[in-house]
Symmetry: C2
Amino acid sequence: MCKYVIGVDYGTDSVRSVVVNASTGAELGAAVFPYPRWKKGYFCDPNTNQFRQHPLDYIEGLESSICEALDNAGEEVASQVVGIAVDTTGSTPVAVDQSGTPLALLYPHLENPNAMFVLWKDHTAIKEAEEINTLSNQWHIDYTQYVGGIYSSEWFWAKILHVIRIDPHVRSDAYSWVEHCDWIPFLLTGGTDVSKMYRSRCAAGHKAMWHSDFGGLPSNEFLATIDPLLDGLRDRLYRDTFTSDVPVGSLSLDWAKRLGLSTDVVVSVGAFDAHMGAVGGQIEPYYLSKVMGTSTCDMLVAPADTFGDILVKGICGQVDGSVIPGMIGLEAGQSAFGDVYAWFRQLLAWPLEQILGANAEIDEDTRTKLVAQTKDQILVKLSTDAGEIDPLESGIVAMDWLNGRRTPDANQALKGALIGLNLSSDAPKIFRALVEATCFGARKIVDRFQDEGVPIRGIIGLGGVAQKSPFTMQILADVLDRPIKIARSEQTCALGAAMFAATAAGLYNDVMEAMQAMGPGFDVTYRPKADQVEKYHQIYARYEQLATLVEQTEQSS
Amino acid sequence: MCKYVIGVDYGTDSVRSVVVNASTGAELGAAVFPYPRWKKGYFCDPNTNQFRQHPLDYIEGLESSICEALDNAGEEVASQVVGIAVDTTGSTPVAVDQSGTPLALLYPHLENPNAMFVLWKDHTAIKEAEEINTLSNQWHIDYTQYVGGIYSSEWFWAKILHVIRIDPHVRSDAYSWVEHCDWIPFLLTGGTDVSKMYRSRCAAGHKAMWHSDFGGLPSNEFLATIDPLLDGLRDRLYRDTFTSDVPVGSLSLDWAKRLGLSTDVVVSVGAFDAHMGAVGGQIEPYYLSKVMGTSTCDMLVAPADTFGDILVKGICGQVDGSVIPGMIGLEAGQSAFGDVYAWFRQLLAWPLEQILGANAEIDEDTRTKLVAQTKDQILVKLSTDAGEIDPLESGIVAMDWLNGRRTPDANQALKGALIGLNLSSDAPKIFRALVEATCFGARKIVDRFQDEGVPIRGIIGLGGVAQKSPFTMQILADVLDRPIKIARSEQTCALGAAMFAATAAGLYNDVMEAMQAMGPGFDVTYRPKADQVEKYHQIYARYEQLATLVEQTEQSS
């Protein structure tokens, strides 16, 4: 009799659940649930880069997407589900009370953005991140040494400090803080005491400066020196952390009912999407597994016993077991990748939405349809047209920092740029320059790993852009001068979660075994073209020069 | 009995003729003729900035626009026309044979772009301009001293040298070279010997380094040192130059017939559009008269007897009599102004034209109409929306050099740029930054005049952008921190030509008198707003910083 597992992948805009055959990895059913409040733009302010998500979006999405995926998987499947694992974006912390309930679920915080999950791409805590970095540089222990030497405004402590500084109500009602990936397993297993919540090694190590060398989180003395408002919080957080092959417990009666599953279903420790995605995409030692979506997360694993004492500067961190237990998981990434292309599409769609969409001469249904049809084709047609442009033709060089820079060397204050524009700079030329810039940003990361003594033996491409844009992938192969293997599955994050679910449920000895049995294999491989490689070598020099200049202007502004 | 004069204004895309009452300046009839070959993009290559115009476009436009303007003016008018004057863009030189006929009118050059007029905005001669500058810096006479110290690729000698270098056929068949504004009066008066052609003081002084101090054009020794290909050409060009109050002659029998006019009609010496436009816009001493269209031409006049020996660096030149006889005419300008906005409109129109325009689900008439309607509204809607954005809100700073930089300090190799982009940078924000950049470019020119000891007592706005964009004019007033008077007439160039025609025909003692009698007066005045002035002071500092950086990256690329 077959056994099934469920992988739940919380992305930026929606949550996706997949029901998978635990022996083969074959997908039986899947469902996506877009967050309804998020979709309406609630609780966000793009002008100040405030991005918050309501816990109800997550709860509704959990129930809906799992139930629908099970429906799609067919009868008989639900009764044979043995495990569920969850991945989420991160760092996405929320303030909770002593029972582990996010404050936004409790009166009077129901509509208070500061009582909601602070999404990874929220950049309201730039100042707090700077203060953490300043103190770290002077402290006798460098708590940033395992997170690349720079603490980011996208991370746990900076976000907590920002929120409790500006919101006295959240400050007084927050007993503790939890990551999204820790809260969902806690919710599913009916947790009622936050001190017993299983905390993800991945989230803690990459975002909260947790490390066994430090005896856990940074000392209370360090935290209270950053700001007395943090004094005492450490004791209300956690000391131990867990890898995702560890079971948290089994489904609560309530959730078993809601999902139509048994209370025997094992729920395992959560982790971040890219980390589980790397597993779903069959990462190997010293392969860079790039999840390329709105942003990128670049994961690399190296056996812990031979890695030595290398500390890679300017990345998002290196954590024992964050991807695969027993291996150092190294994380890097770009703050905007597909988001750069989406930004340009949105820019070009302005006349469609603002003028054509308001043209009273045509009926509303027709214009809505025309706007949507045309907008849908923008990136397709841009890719086709830009594909015919020689890299050296336009002279346009872009900077990909439209959402700041995550790595190498986090700096969320940086901005995007376009130089070399002239009157013949049309949309395909600019688009090509933007795509090239995102690929140059990717090269910066590869170069950094290698410069710091971590060899890169291969590149694996995962995520929406890897799957959907051969145009981008070919440029990436040319810029990196390396072949890029594209994972066959489109849902590597959810599939990776399913592999952990199967392992935690006891079907495999470890996740490596699960990966081998359930892995989807690879689809196309993009190979670098020698003539383009040579051209991009030249343009990359211009990109690096521009990067230096743009960084200078930001610093002096 | 009333007397009438005709002003003919050759612009970049079309020629416009106006029939004017010579006593009052009242416009009786006007007509515009778009150049048919140019409109189809013939002989041009925007990728290499090659822009050529066929002499037939000019000839057909001359006849058609004058005849139609006379028709519109009503019966009885043609018989009382006493003068015609012509202004053109420039420097717009063409190779001619000994009879003064442009080579493109002669077999085998009929379709050879190098035998056509090289339009002002053609930037194919960047290398040649550099060579001229290099030699000028070392020569015992600085021939560039009256053209701002930098010779531009948009000008006479650079363009000639470029064409004769790359095209041996034109090289061997070109007896001499003439400016568009010299050729039209020559054509109208039936000239047959290029050595007798009246050459415009304005064109010669601003673009060909002609100056009475040099005894005319630069020496043959200098020219032959730039390139032996130029050896001997000086003697086949000209020694004397003339201001536009001077009659060239009267209409030839042929042209009198073609236009339905008398052979008594006086044709006066031509000049450049912005110079005649400044007269049509009633320029005063030490007022900056800004013709703001696709690019800008900024004219200033100062009485020759009190101007002293000031040499303004980095402008397009200072020439005795180029605008008004007896006054030094100083010219500066920006290579792209309205063209920057048009570029952005074209960029945003890409999905309309490329996707919606090809949508086979809707009939062709409907989609053509929708594309045109929507595109027409882009700049209107952008201006409205951008008008509501605080200057300090977006953080975007643009460089306006999308067509290179004309002044201060000509450098056609420079490019445009946008920095400070983030994921919330939408079309109105970027548009506002682009408009601000063009206004900052305008401030650079005002600052240069003042820094060099030439006071600016007022600003007069002329041209399409001045007439049609209150949004841009208000930002310009705020950036310059000065009021801007907008000339009442939309056709100040043609009107200025008509004033010269009336003067050359003997109706006035000098053009100052004509200006007073025929001047249209002023329309609205835009006044700076104190709060905006303060904000733009800050942003201008960022613009200057960016300018330095962009110039550095160009130099090192």
